[in-house]
Subunit: 396 residues, 2 copies
């Protein structure tokens, strides 16, 4: 075997993704890309805000000496200060740059955090449906995955979480707004989760971390503000990126922040900085750090995303598709009208509709629609969704 | 324990680095930064070539739509094509973009390669003195470290390597030009290593990889050209970055390339692309990829580095310090004039000379000088080196 046995198995089990991708490419060749409705990708098709482009021009025109050199493994002090300021405002807690480490996106940040926290075999709770990469991230650092389902409306099932926590639990990953459901956990839910964890910490005499993955935190609708995790959960680590809120996924820029309410926050930060270095990230890209420093309150056009959500939700609901109305992110997670979600996705392809089965998120019986695509493509897709609804018998 | 026990131990054992750093800071405060001769850091103080700055301006002035989005996890096709072209020219082999993956620096690349190759407990040979991060990288992916010493002139000790290869060996990391010695492995050495590995592969019926870490490949002196590893070793994977040759360490841009002579190169590449994604790198930073695409033959001013090497080598040798003359990189690795290198480093600090003990590279009895600093600082340091030489008795 030329590569590690485990990696080989992962490649094999992920081969359906490749198959889907290849089918999509085939459809594009046959029907033309404009006639294929690709709802599979989480790659925002919008441009970064104008302020970002101006900042890039300014930096290029007035290059500072040393601006491409190594800095502290935690990142530039002034970038971390800008992040800490926003976190302090949102949480009311005393964040300082010493609570923040700049990372290679949220994916890099999650790996750094898991590496720093996990002893071999310790359990990490993830909530189904979940972003599938969590499983690989936990496995990278010899953790054990413990899946817990959310309720039917994708809210936290506190009883199930309570049952899952045991003497080997180290952490729990939550993701709000959620990929794939668009669910935003409420203040009440987070408060109850915080209470549960404090109680369990006492019971087990053991630190229990919540790692909150929030790249969609600024993409929320209907006036909902995503609550600051730090207000409700003492032992919390926020991991996020500017991939979605500034539309910079290719630049790999994000951060992790450790709650100042943790009495050992400094020790945890030392661990994160060490792991950022030794996992080979070393530091978040220098240019990207400079670029996002003044843009901590900037976002792409959220109203445009909300409009897409509304058009899709209203039209699909009208056709008989059943779903929880998402409060954030750019995904819908409707029920599969037939029991087998993979079979449903195959049927959809006949109408040039590319969707992802819920099985890919640990939740069979559902499918995901990603709507970070042109509005016109969404509008054009409804005939196909309608034909599909007829075929599976939800529309007469 | 708030963080993983292993990480905690690593932090503790690395505390001497922090101690050194803090001592340096203290000296700078007391004597002024201009009077402290800091030879510890590998952070080039030169600026990227003019062509880089122009390219950054051009990209900022004419932003392409979608230029900050995700691309293939392997990186942009045109960036990989530019890299493949240079590799093909240097090796005479038929490199294509399918042999190249863009990575978050060489550190990121090494982690991706080790993750893709290593089954738990498989051995990776490293050659002392070595870049200390290799140990963490191998440990990250559950590999076992096997140390082999180089000869007195830091050339490959093929007998020792032959002895170290066994049924559990998976790979060997070489680093040329070498950090900390500046040694460049000759064509003859690489050819002999290639022969040895082919023979051992047959004996053990097992694939043996050479991972060649070459961030200093373009920084070589006296007209020496660093030989292409691909010419001499069939199962070779090159890992490198533009941190040193374009002075961009903070931007985290590098690549890994798999020899087209490996019959299973495609399979190995699939493993690398998967691990680049699942370790959370996802892709090398988009802007940095664009920036380096047209600069594959550009470098910083190598003659300036050679001048610094010469000044240091000539003066220190004159004072009685003993060392092998480096052929590349920006390090000198002299013998410690007293048996205990850590004690020697302590003595040097009294003269405001900051050096790294050989123990930090798995080679006690030596010390490392990093000369990617201002020429004037080097010239100013000689009085201190002279006093130190007197104290330890090598200069009368």
């Amino acid at each position: 075997m030329p590569i590690a046995t485990k990696i080989d198995k992962f490649l094999e089990s992920a081969s359906w993704i490749r198959k889907m991708f290849e089918e999509g490419e085939k459809l594009r060749r046959i029907h033309g890309p404009e006639n294929v409705f690709d709802f599979t990708i989480g790659n925002p098709n919008v441009e970064p805000p104008q302020a970002f482009k101006q900042e890039l021009k300014r930096i290029a025109a007035e290059p500072e000496s040393g601006m491409h050199r190594y800095m502290s493994n935690a990142g530039y002090e002034n970038t971390r200060t800008a992040v800490a300021k926003v976190l302090a405002e949102d949480s009311g807690l005393s964040f300082s740059p010493e609570n923040v480490i700049m990372t290679v996106g949220a994916g890099g940040g999650l790996n750094v955090v898991l590496k720093a926290l996990l002893n071999p075999g310790e359990e990490v709770i993830i909530l189904a449906p979940y972003f599938v990469e969590y499983k690989f991230y936990i496995d990278n650092h010899s953790g054990t995955i413990k899946e817990v389902s959310t309720r039917e409306d994708f809210s936290l099932d506190l009883e199930a979480i309570a049952k899952a926590i045991g003497p080997n639990t180290r952490a729990m990953i939550i993701n709000t707004p959620n990929n794939p459901t668009g669910k935003v956990y409420s203040e009440q839910e987070l408060e109850q989760l915080g209470d549960l964890l404090e109680q369990k910490e006492k019971e087990l005499n053991r630190a229990l971390y919540v790692i909150s993955d929030e790249p969609y935190a600024k993409i929320s609708y209907d006036g909902i503000k995503v609550p600051s995790i730090f207000k409700y959960i003492k032992r919390s680590i926020l991991v996020t990126s500017h991939s979605k809120d500034l539309a910079l996924p290719g630049e790999r820029i994000g951060y992790a922040a450790v709650s100042p309410q943790m009495e050992d926050a400094g020790h945890v930060m030392e661990g994160l900085v060490f792991c950022n270095r030794t996992l080979g990230f070393v530091n978040a890209p220098a240019l990207a750090q400079r670029l996002v420093t003044p843009l901590q309150r900037e976002t792409v056009d959220i109203a445009a995303y909300q409009e897409k959500r509304d058009i899709l939700y209203d039209n699909l609901t009208r056709m008989g598709y059943k779903m929880v109305k998402p409060q954030g992110a750019f995904y819908l997670f409707p029920q599969s009208p037939i029991p087998d979600d993979v079979e449903f996705i195959d049927k959809a392809q006949k109408y040039n509709l590319l969707l992802v089965p819920g099985s890919g998120f640990g939740k069979p019986g559902y499918f995901r629609i990603s709507y970070c695509i042109d509005k016109q493509v969404i509008l054009n897709s409804f005939t196909a969704f309608e034909k599909l609804a007829h075929e599976v018998g939800i529309l007469a």
